[in-house]
Amino acid sequence: MSPTNYLLLSAVLFAIGTVGVLVRRNAIVVFMCVELMLNAVNLSLVTFARLNGSLDGQVMAFFVMVVAAAEVVVGLSIIMSIFRARRTASVDDANLLKY
């Protein structure tokens, strides 16, 4: 088995996350799809680090995890405040700026 398989798996997971962001209506599920995309990129970073025999890719993946944690905190609190204001978590209902 070639290590390229990891990259292929990562690409497919990233595409799945993209489709999820496009298709799903629930803001929390959309957010989870973004997390899946971040994880797919992390997998490719780790694989590249291994192919190159250096650890820089792993450090990058580590920083991606840290940033993702901060992003989740802020994003979920935004979703919660929207939910408290409008009693909905659907991305279609947050349309105050539309008209």
Binding site: M1, S2, T4, N5, Y6, L7, L8, L9, A11, V12, L13, F14, A15, I16, V19, G20, L22, V23, R24, R25, N26, I28, V29, F31, M32, C33, L36, N39, N42, L43, V46, T47, R50, L51, G53, S54, L55, D56, Q58, V59, A61, F62, F63, V67, A68, A69, A70, E71, V72, V73, L76, S77, I79, M80, S81, F83, A85, T88, A89, D92
Partner: protein, 281 residues
């Protein structure tokens, strides 16, 4: 460079599981089911990290992602409500079909690019030394500035979450101690001190108010040794009774039935009696 058989086995088990988790997350109607599918994906990704000689990232993935972040997601899902599933109505017509076509095209593009362009180099083993130690050296030496910046980022994130939590909540007026004292002194006089206990019919419970005996004289036990008591003459109606009581005790004893009758005798009498009994208490 080919991988060992054990790694191939791990990949062919964990990879399909990760794929199934991703697909299940996108296609399950219930948001909680989506979260659980994503947990499955993240767990198997952690396993894949460990297989690729990145044990630190693998455990971090499991602890931080599946342990903390997905728990946060499920927490918020429970607060929003489990029933908050997707609406079936398509706002944009044909969005799902076009999204599926775009996704498949995107995946094909990525796969083709990766498969055709990545040249696997000669076999390079993992760096000597432990993975965690080498990562620590890198993070705290070459990437120290970035690492410090992430701490600022996390603090900002926590502050932002608190701002969003308290946003829109009307700020309650804070009453200062001075305002409280002023309001109490301007209010009705019963609020000066603490209230009398139950069963006590009193209008004044200050230490400076001496207790009056049934004959109207001041009870000496009720006088404080450090606080000057209110002069008996300033105790209002009780003063007249006190003078009468001083005259002779028999008269004070005669007063008792008068006070009993005072209940029907109108407001003035009731007031008088209440003051006396309060002083006795």
């Amino acid at each position: 460079m080919t991988t060992s058989t054990g790694e191939a086995v791990a990949f062919w088990i964990l990879g399909p599981v990760a794929l199934a988790g991703g697909l299940g997350m996108v296609f399950s109607r219930n948001a909680v089911h989506s979260a659980l599918w994503l947990v499955l994906t993240m767990l198997s990704l952690g396993g894949l990290y460990m297989v690729q000689s990145a044990p630190f990232l693998g455990f971090t993935q499991i602890i931080v992602y599946t342990g903390a972040i997905m728990m946060l997601f499920i927490f918020v899902l429970m607060m929003v409500g489990r029933d908050a599933s997707d609406s079936v109505v398509e706002v944009l017509r044909g969005q799902r079909v076009s999204a599926a076509i775009l996704g498949i095209g995107f995946a094909a593009l990525l796969l083709g690019a990766v498969a055709n362009s990545v040249v696997v180099p000669l076999a390079v083993g993992p760096a000597p030394g432990s993975n965690v130690g080498n990562l620590g050296l890198l993070i705290y030496q070459r990437y120290l500035l970035a690492f410090e910046l992430t701490s600022a980022l996390i603090i900002t994130g926590a502050l932002g979450a608190m701002v969003y939590t308290f946003a829109g909540r009307a700020k309650a007026k804070v009453i200062t101690q001075r305002e409280r004292v002023t309001a109490r002194l301007l209010g009705p006089p019963e609020k000066y001190g603490s209230r009398s206990g139950p069963g006590v019919f009193a209008t004044g419970d200050s230490v400076a108010t001496p207790a009056l005996l049934p004959d109207g004289s001041v009870a000496p036990e009720s006088l404080s040794s450090i606080i000057e008591a209110t002069a008996r003459e300033r105790l209002g109606h009780a003063t007249e009774l006190a003078h009468a009581g001083d005259a002779h005790d028999q008269h004070a004893r005669d007063h008792e039935p008068h006070h009993e009758a005072g209940h029907e005798a109108g407001h003035e009498a009731r007031h008088e009696q209440s003051e006396i009994q309060g002083s006795q208490a």
